[in-house]
Structure formats: C-alpha cells, structure tokens
C-alpha cells in the first residue's frame, strides 16, 4: 500500500461578487502538502464520480469537492457547501453525507493545525 500513489484533495469555493474564491488543500504520500486560498484553479476531470448522486447539488452558495486517490482507486465527490449538520440530516443521503461532512472537518482541522504551527498564522 505504501508503494501506491496516494493523495487527498479538498476544495470548497464559489464564484461570486469577489470572483472565484476558494480554499483548497492536498496531502500527498511523499509528504508534500499544498494549500491554496482564493485563486483560480483548473482541474482535469478524468476521475470517477462516486456516491454523491443523492447529495445536494452545487448551488449559488458554492460547492465542495473531495478527491482521494490510492493506487488505482480514484474517487471524487462534489456537493453544495454544508453550513450545518441540519443540511446533512435533511439530505437524501444523510448517512453518506455525514461521513463526508466529518471527514472534511477532520482534514481541515489537520491542515489548519499544521499551518498555524508552521507559520504562526490563522488560515482563512
């Protein structure tokens, strides 16, 4: 497993009054970590979409994406921004969306800790 390519990428953003604003980060197996806030980003779309059929579609508020690659497994999810757990509970797939909701929070928590400790700044 350690020899397989692995990365996790998360994106949350919207296009609004101030242009394309977003937060994006990525962890890679070789130890690289990328973090971006508020810039333009183009992604290729060769990735299998999975399990997000019943999740809220992206909307005017924006969208979130989570992409994970582990060897030949390459999955991605896209949904609307979730402001509260209520939106998760009220969705058509509360169980799946709840996993996504908490995983995203845990990932954010991790990268914000790393950034805060490394730079002594508060991200976002």
């Amino acid at each position: 497993m350690a020899d397989q390519e692995f990365y996790v990428r998360y994106y949350a953003g919207h296009i609004g009054r101030y242009g394309h604003e977003f937060l994006e980060f990525e962890f890679r197996a070789d130890g690289h970590c990328r973090y971006a806030n508020n810039s333009n980003y183009r992604k290729d779309s060769l990735i299998r979409k999975e399990n997000d059929d019943k999740w809220p579609r992206k909307n005017v508020v924006g969208k979130q994406e989570l992409e994970i690659r582990l060897g030949n497994e390459h999955i991605s999810f896209e949904t609307a921004k979730l402001g509260s757990l209520m939106e998760v509970t009220d969705s058509a797939d509360p169980e799946g969306l709840r996993v996504f909701y908490y995983l995203v929070q845990d990932l954010k928590c991790f990268i914000f800790s790393l950034i805060a400790l490394h730079f002594k700044i508060k991200p976002i």
């Binding site: 971006a36 908490y102 928590c109 991790f110």
Partner: protein, 177 residues
C-alpha cells in the same frame, strides 16, 4: 509548475535555489542524495536528521501518530515535556466522536529537543498503542528520498462511517461521553 496562482510558501526560510517542490521528476530525486549537504543548516545541528528537518517560524514541530483515542492533553504534555519545553500542543479531536483523532503536533523551541523527543518516543507504546514520531516538516529536497522512512505515519481516520457505526462502543468509551 505550481497549479496554484496563489500558493503559500510552505517552507519559509528555505533557500531560494530550491526547485519547484511539486516537481517530482526522477532527475530531481536522483540529485537529492548527493547535494543535500550543500544546503544551509537552519540549526547548528549537522546530523543527517538535522538536515532533513524543516524549522517552522517559531520552533520545530513534531508529529506523533498512533495516539490512542482516549489519550488526554495532560498525558501527552507530560510525556513530551520530558524532552524539552513544549511551546505548543495540538491534540485534535475527531469531529464526529469527540475522541482524539489519532495524532498530536508538538512544538519545541530547539531542534535538539525535538530530535530527542522523536528518538525517544518513535515506535514506543503509549496507552498500549505504538506511537510514531517524526518531524512534521522536512525540507522539500529531502522528501523524495525520505518518504520511505515516513511510511506508516498514517493518521488514524474513520472515513468509513458505516464501519464506525457497526462497531459497538467499548465499555470504556461509554463513561466518557
């Protein structure tokens, strides 16, 4: 090239001669071993470990994985204070369960303290679980050659909620929340 127009430099203070650190071409990897000693040291320490680690703005960050979900901050603090004055400690919680996620980040002021903590605790038992400790930040030029040594630093996750739900709570958990 960087895919981001506006990317934070994750390695403040690193030499400007460092190449684009997202580039992973084989030539760059091959070159690493030979010229790693040419880089300026951020610290007086000149051991191989010292050259590999990357200093953060105010100190050296150690990442500990395999931390038991019921470990508490005082216990982690106590264990790692043995090797130096802890400037900062992040023991993040699983947002869903409220238990420790499985990793801790500890900041020491000096490289020697961080190194001592890593050497003394890496692979040891803590709350009956093996923990792994290493520098959280390493020089980008060192990543290619050292990623192998960083294997197994997996952060305990519960991405699969279904598995989580099917697990019955152990008696010890019930008491806590």
């Amino acid at each position: 090239m960087s895919r981001y127009d506006n990317e934070i430099d994750l390695e403040p203070g690193v030499d400007n001669i460092a190449p684009d650190y997202m580039a992973v071409d084989s030539e760059a990897r091959d070159g690493v071993r030979d010229d790693s000693h040419d880089y300026d040291r951020m610290d007086e320490d000149t051991t191989s470990t010292g050259g590999r680690a990357q200093r953060s703005v105010e100190g050296w960050i150690v990442i500990i994985t395999g931390v038991h979900e019921e470990a508490d901050e005082e216990a982690v603090m106590e264990k790692f204070a043995e090797y130096g004055d802890i400037k900062n400690l992040h023991l993040n919680l699983d947002r869903r369960t409220g238990y420790v996620k499985g990793y801790a980040l500890v900041e020491y002021e000096t490289h020697n303290e961080a190194k001592a903590a890593i050497e003394a605790t890496n692979g040891t038992k803590f709350y009956d679980q093996t923990i792994y400790a290493d520098f959280a930040f390493v020089r980008s030029t060192e990543l290619a050659t050292n990623c192998n040594t960083r294997r197994g630093m997996g952060i305990k996750g519960r991405a699969n909620g279904r598995r989580d739900r099917s697990r019955s709570a152990s008696p010890s958990r019930n008491g806590r929340r």
